[in-house]
Symmetry: C2
Subunit: 432 residues, 2 copies
């Protein structure tokens, strides 16, 4: 019998396997998660609103037969507070929406509930999934930011409060907090999942995201979200054959630690028999131009999606007001040009490397900065996000003080299953 | 002073010009609209729920100074009942959502309200904007279908109940009912407008739609929805320089009447000095293959967006159940292949005709079929919708019995302003 705290730190698949093998029960896991929350939440502050242990157990016991027969066994799910839930408020990190109670669950929430997950609570988001930080602290170092905007989801999963959480990414909102906190963050290809009930920020950039502690878990949750046949037995890590390395310096400033982590991981892949090459410098430079084009598209679209909120500027953060003003002042030609450049570079990348499995690149510029400086730079994600590519963070690499240094694997559009299986394999290599 | 009934039939721009010139007041127009509704609604049944005249006037008078200073002067707007409104239920034409009351206005609704429109009511939609008809009848011939899914919006505008209405299109849900009823329907380029608060059906296909009685009106409403500078003075019809003709036979069966209307309009354009050519037959055949690819993408995505509803199959129509079953049984490879084919043909079309302003093609296979046969075939729209192109119906061409025969202009992606200005010009030509 495992100890309570080690139960809470298992991966979702290991939790499910242990329950199936009767090594422990779902209630043991649930109680272990609540033990962890009660111990850590006062400092980490990952939750905007959540069930108490008693409320959770009541919900579990009222439908125990359903949960015992279900795929996800009644295990707890965190939901970023930008995603609508019918039984808890969805406030989007904004003073404008305090107490806002949607009438429907978002589709992603409904599908995970139908598969046997229980929504433990709503996790802290930055204001409208943009830059103004929430209360959450980085569980790996409480003086540091967890990153944003899916701050609470990344922290809650990294800190073993829940085995799975939903997030969303428009710029770097999944990959960056996952990298900073040390959870596995996954951003779906654009268009891959229903975004019904998730509050949109920028229609050309928004993607659904998921957090877990093992990329293999995400293959299971992906099956639930896509209504594919779910089978925990057939989920397997897959060795990539060919990986490209893109140094973060093409996208923005990167720390020496991060560059060293990238090189170390590339070496490990090569030693394990993966073909590793550098991304063509000319193409890398073009991808680098997308950092700014992403910001342009985002500003144009955010000020239109958040039209209602922009009518109450006194309730918006200075960061959000700046973004809205930038979008409203922008010539339409700039926006259309940026959309065009993203399309051109995306097609070039796909055409130039048809046989490459994934791109290995930093998930963030460095370790998480100190909390008072904001949520960190989104530059390492903007270009990939603009192109709508699926991305997964790699975990297990820390700096000398034990704070995570996250890398990411960037996959091919709509081949999310492949990049998740590759990430699971690379993580076994780097953790092993 | 115009008669009450002629006031209600003016275009939005003519209403606004008349109010500005003090030829009549906004209240005169509003009352004329209610006169028309009270006379016609018992037969046409365009409205799912609506304000009474007294409620409307109360709302107008309570904020009269705001409306008098506003762009849209307090004039009435119809909103398809798939689009959320905070002050009226949004039931999506489904027994599952009777009485469903959203907490927020959709962004498009909020922007039009902020510009001075008043939501007169929610217009009838087919079930979840798919094929099961609502109660609405075609105002041009009550024995015929208004088309779907934006049935009530198309009928209410064609029948002079309101000068403007919101809709949405995933397959043919704006263009077809506009063609059948004789209003001007406009589908925005994919990604052009915020869809926040509109219930999604298929994320790769959904677009926002608008209805009016003159394409020039839609240029004004587009400015509101995009938060661009609004100026009724600078809106102008623009003569297209080069138009391609695509016979509907490439997309599906088309009536002789419709083919004659297409040829007559093409001739009129040519006589007016527009360069008119036939779409290349090989490319037209490739575009024809997108009809089926569109249906494939739609089935895959609908069964995932409507996951919650699919858990209550007893409350779904047979048509919707079939679509969901088709999507769930479909191999993912078919879906990915269809997405790929759409991208390839879309790129080919753009590359082959960089200097063409628009494609002229039937908006529907024929006049509206009899109501008991359903809402008509979506084949004339599927291919253009799959490619995400902006489309506008042309009005004013009727068959010998006076029932509308609608054509459409298909524009270039994200050049919605150009195709709207061209449609305004062509409509002046064909009506004149």
């Amino acid at each position: 019998m495992q100890s309570t705290s080690s139960l809470a730190s298992l991966s979702l698949l290991d939790m499910l396997a242990g329950i199936k093998a009767a090594e422990f029960t779902a209630l043991d896991v649930i109680n272990a998660c609540f033990d962890q929350i009660e111990q850590r939440e006062p400092e980490v502050q990952a939750w905007q609103v959540r069930l108490t242990r008693e409320q959770y157990l009541q919900q579990y016991e009222a439908n125990q037969a359903f949960y015992e027969a279900s795929l996800l066994q009644g295990l707890p799910l965190g939901v970023k507070d930008i995603i609508d839930t019918a039984e808890m408020p969805t406030e989007m990190g904004s003073a404008i929406h305090i107490g806002r109670q949607p009438v429907d669950d978002a589709t992603c929430v409904a599908l995970l509930k139908q598969a046997g997950a229980i929504v433990l609570g709503k996790t802290v988001t930055t204001e409208f999934a943009y830059f103004k930080p929430g209360a959450t602290r980085n569980p790996a170092d409480l003086t540091r930011t967890p990153g944003g905007s899916s701050s609470g989801s990344a922290a809650a999963v990294a800190d073993n409060m829940v085995p799975m959480a939903l997030g969303s990414q428009t710029a770097a909102s999944v990959i960056r907090p996952a990298a900073y906190c040390g959870s596995v963050g996954y951003v779906g290809s654009r268009g891959e999942y229903s975004l019904r009930g998730g509050q949109p920020l920028a229609q050309s950039l928004d993607s659904l995201g998921l957090f877990s502690r093992d990329a293999a878990d995400l293959l299971l949750l992906r099956s639930v979200l896509l209504r594919l046949p779910e089978n925990t037995e057939t989920i397997a890590a897959v060795k990539p054959e060919k990986v490209l390395v893109c140094p973060g310096s093409w996208l923005g400033e990167v720390s020496e630690d991060m560059t060293a982590a990238l090189e170390k991981t590339a070496d490990a892949l090569q030693q394990a028999g993966v073909s590793v090459a550098l991304l063509d410098a000319e193409l890398a430079a073009e991808i680098g131009t997308l950092v700014e084009h992403h910001a342009t598209i985002m500003a144009w679209e955010v000020c239109r999606n958040l039209a209602v909120e922009s009518f109450s500027p006194e309730l918006l953060s200075p960061q959000m007001k700046d973004l809205i003003d930038k979008g409203l002042a922008m010539p339409r030609a700039s926006y259309l040009n940026s959309l065009q450049q993203v399309a051109v570079v995306g097609q070039k990348l796909a055409a130039q490397y048809p046989d490459v499995d994934a791109i290995l690149t930093p998930a963030a510029p460095a370790i998480a900065p100190l909390a008072e400086t904001g949520t960190g730079s989104p530059h390492m994600s903007r270009a990939w996000q603009a192109m709508g590519l699926p991305t997964v963070t790699l975990t297990g690499i820390n700096d000398l003080t034990g704070v995570p240094l996250g890398l990411q694997l960037v996959g091919k559009v709509r081949q999310d299953d492949a990049v998740l299986a590759n990430a699971a394999w690379v993580n076994q290599l780097t953790l092993g």
